[in-house]
Amino acid sequence: MRREYIITIIVLCLSVVDLWAQLGEAVADTTLTLQEISVSAIKQSSNMRVQPITSTIIGGDVIERLNIDAMKNVSEMAPNFYMPDYGTRMTSSIYVRGLGARIDQPVVGLNVDNVPFLNKDNYDFDAVDIERIEVLRGPQSTLYGRNTMGGLINIYTLSPMKCQGLRLLAEYGSGNSLKTAVSYYTKIQPRLAISWSGYYSMTDGFFDNKHSGSDCDTEKQGGFRWKTQWRIADNVNLENVASTQFSRQEGYPYASVITDEINYNDTCFYKRTSITDGLTIKWLNDKFTLSSISSFQYIDDDMTLDQDFLPLEYFTLTQKRKEWALTQDFVVRGSVGKYNWLGGLFCFYKSSDMSAPVTFKDYGIDQLIEKHRNEANPYYPVNWDDETFVLGSDFKTPTWGVAIYHQSSYKIGRWNFSAGIRLDYERVALDYHSYCNTSYTTYDCTDTQELEKVFNNHEVVIDDQGSLNKSFVELLPKVSVVYSFSPLNESNIYASVSKGYKAGGYNTQMFSDVLQQRIMKLMGLGMKYDIDDVVGYDPEESINYELGAHLTTNNGMFNADVALFYVDCRNQQLTMFPDGTTTGRIMANAGKTRSYGLETSVVYRPSAKWMFNASYGLTDARFVEFNNGKNDYKGKRIPYAPRNTVFAGMTYRQPLNAKWIDAMSFNLNCRGVGSIYWNEENSEKQPFYALLGASMRLEHARYSVDLWAENIADKEYKTFYFVSIGNGFYQQGKPARMGVTLRYNFEM
């Protein structure tokens, strides 16, 4: 961005701030509640808006009104936060400020009721009774460590200490989508409260597979949560949240770019069962607070893909995994006068067992192996002896890590200076077993073109086993300064510099490349790569520079946040072609990217009836260095990361005071994103698009009825694009849909 533009924007921000200060002092002292007040979070202040953090807080009212029950629904509401809806629950690609990941490690962390989710394949799930969602943008690595390079999402569910009763939900919508939920909140004793929440949903989806003639994005899913909150003593709190969730999905609704049809012949599905339990204990005394957060996570999932997405017998991939993880975080916080401090110790262990066989089928063997080989030697062509064969791969991936961290802040007048540091150590290992047993026959066609004269027969037998391991040490500092305009409200300006990182490890999906090279090597073609070179990668690191402001009028009617950022990302994890080969990718830390932009969001409540909210994010994210051995992408935009995100909403609530209806409210919203480039060459893109949504609510103290509609204009847009064996595919966004949601609360 040109310097003069940056200076202009800074001047504008400061002008707005100055104007704001004048406005704020003049308004009445009536206080309006803008959003649900943040409950105490263990590592941060109870109020995000006094922190040097760019965050978006989505409260329960907005969550209900916009039907938010999963993280993908939050996309675009937070500026520069984009989580596209494609594939299955396993695809949880998140892009923040141009940083994102489709492979392996995420760039954004997720905590649910303070429990860290370690595997991004488990990020996409529905939840009921969400109290609030916090989207923190910018590196959070100092306090949260690994894989929070782009930010952090905190989801908090309702507290049984605060609300009691029975909550029922029933919803029906387009695509024959049905959802039901039952929650029961109760105080067993004044200091002991529990809740049980369960839900079930099913949908026929919106897309058909032409080959089978049936729906290909159906889903059945459900979950149960048991939350216990126990105030053991006046200064000791305990919270335990146990949950389980299952999901059964059909298909990946990817359409061919050429035919615009979803048309594939092999089975595609994703099944997942997960169990989590998180135990949080807080002990307070006069001098400090000591918290312990322990968690257990278990995932059992199974993904099967028709990997060519064509009605041809190419190949299929299955990935079955069982993974469990333990985490433990000790946090101590205290203050002495104007000095606040926080220290912590975090450790985790994760173990994953995976089986990922690729089945080559007849047409795939012909096109991907025989054809290339026989073009190279038509005099002695080969013919595979089997119609199908399996390239098997089994993996065990134990990973563990430990970190210590500290943050200090000191207040001088209206200034607050803060610095933090984290030392993070992680070790990851990979035990692999690759196997294959097949054969092919070579024919002598020097005299004839018919496959009659056998020249020889070759066995292709692979039985490779090995172990790899890597260790990483990361030092993650952060410094910030905040200037508050008034000690009475949340208006401030801040600057921060922080480092984030995305963990290194092994990309097991690259093993197909390893085995492909292995087979070619056995046929006398291709190089046998070092496996560590192909699948291993080191951490990716970023430095985030940020200047921002939180602005709030004294009466709370108006909130505005604005931020400018610059992100410098090093050692980016990319796939490359070594030595200019056309086959055989390897993982490499070979890229440098930079992104800069701005984010702004406003919430305006001029009266009790009206609320307006809007957010906008602009990101210019490009490769500074990226040569993958075939092409140089320097200067190109980073794929899958949108340039703009937009959200705007308007809600009007009219009290009616009728017998059965207390109020009627209307909401109109619009969310937009784009442009998005789909590849490093920047040759394919989705232009900017906007989706219109609306809802009408009839509410009573005990119940509400929402009529809602999404993508009212039935806008067509792509959420994903990729190339497989030279063919382009995309997933269409969901069409226009509508539905009705009934909620009933019995207070007890």
């Binding site: 030697n377 002695y380 020249f455 070759h458 006398g524 073609l525 190089m527």
Partner: protein
Amino acid sequence: MKTIKSLLLSLISITVFASCSNDDSEAKTVQYYDDCFHHVYNVMSGEYKIFEAPQYEFEFNYTDITANVKIKNVKFADGMPAINMTLENLKWNISNGFKVINANNVIPVVDGNAMPEYMLNSVKIELLDRYVGVYYEPIVNVYFVINDMFKVTAVQEDILYFGETSVTSMSGGNPYTINTPVYQLSIDEDMIADLKIAGAKFAQGMPSLDMEFENIPVEISSGVGYTLKCESLIPEINDVPFPNYQITNLIGMGTFSKGLDLSFNCVMTKTMDDGSVVELPPYKVDADLHFEVPAE
């Protein structure tokens, strides 16, 4: 088999070295070598004979820098019985990584007796200890002259070479250079060589190939080296002939202690959909090869 022999040889060498350490006053190593045959050139007749299966035992004394060399199963003429000779107290030194013995007028000991009738007018032995991966793959060059009449060269049967391969397309453009291919030259008693190239590549972006060139005639220059020459051959990949990658004008000039300069052309043809065969611009390949194993 060759691999097993290399492993055994290294194991035996280490064992013997360890056993020799019992004598604290002298440090010695004993190495065995039999991966060769003898090319014997008769100066009088101008002809050569091949005699198989000689066996060498090298004992290097690091204290007084002397060596004893035992050569078993030595023949240099038809009809003569094989003899076992010992060359004693030869001086040796290190040169370019090789253990080198240069000696003149050495009287061998045969069955315990000095045999001046078998005087070795000149003896040159060069031994390079070398590991390729975990395998012991030495380079051994032995040449001696008996009675100014028989020039005996021990021809190593399998040699691994490394180095730079430069490929130039006849259609023009800059040469493509690559250092990763490994060359294995195998010479048999019929003076026919097989050349295997692991990871051969002729162009950027091309998948590498494990090629084998068979039946290359070899000529030995006594005490100097060897020459490979072949007008035309069909390479094999994974034991399958590839007629559309024809190799022409193959010439290799090698010395047993320095390396191999190799060049050849690769003439590629492509079969079109209508069955016609089109010849593509050929590649000229030049390889400057040596024994030094590249660092990983």
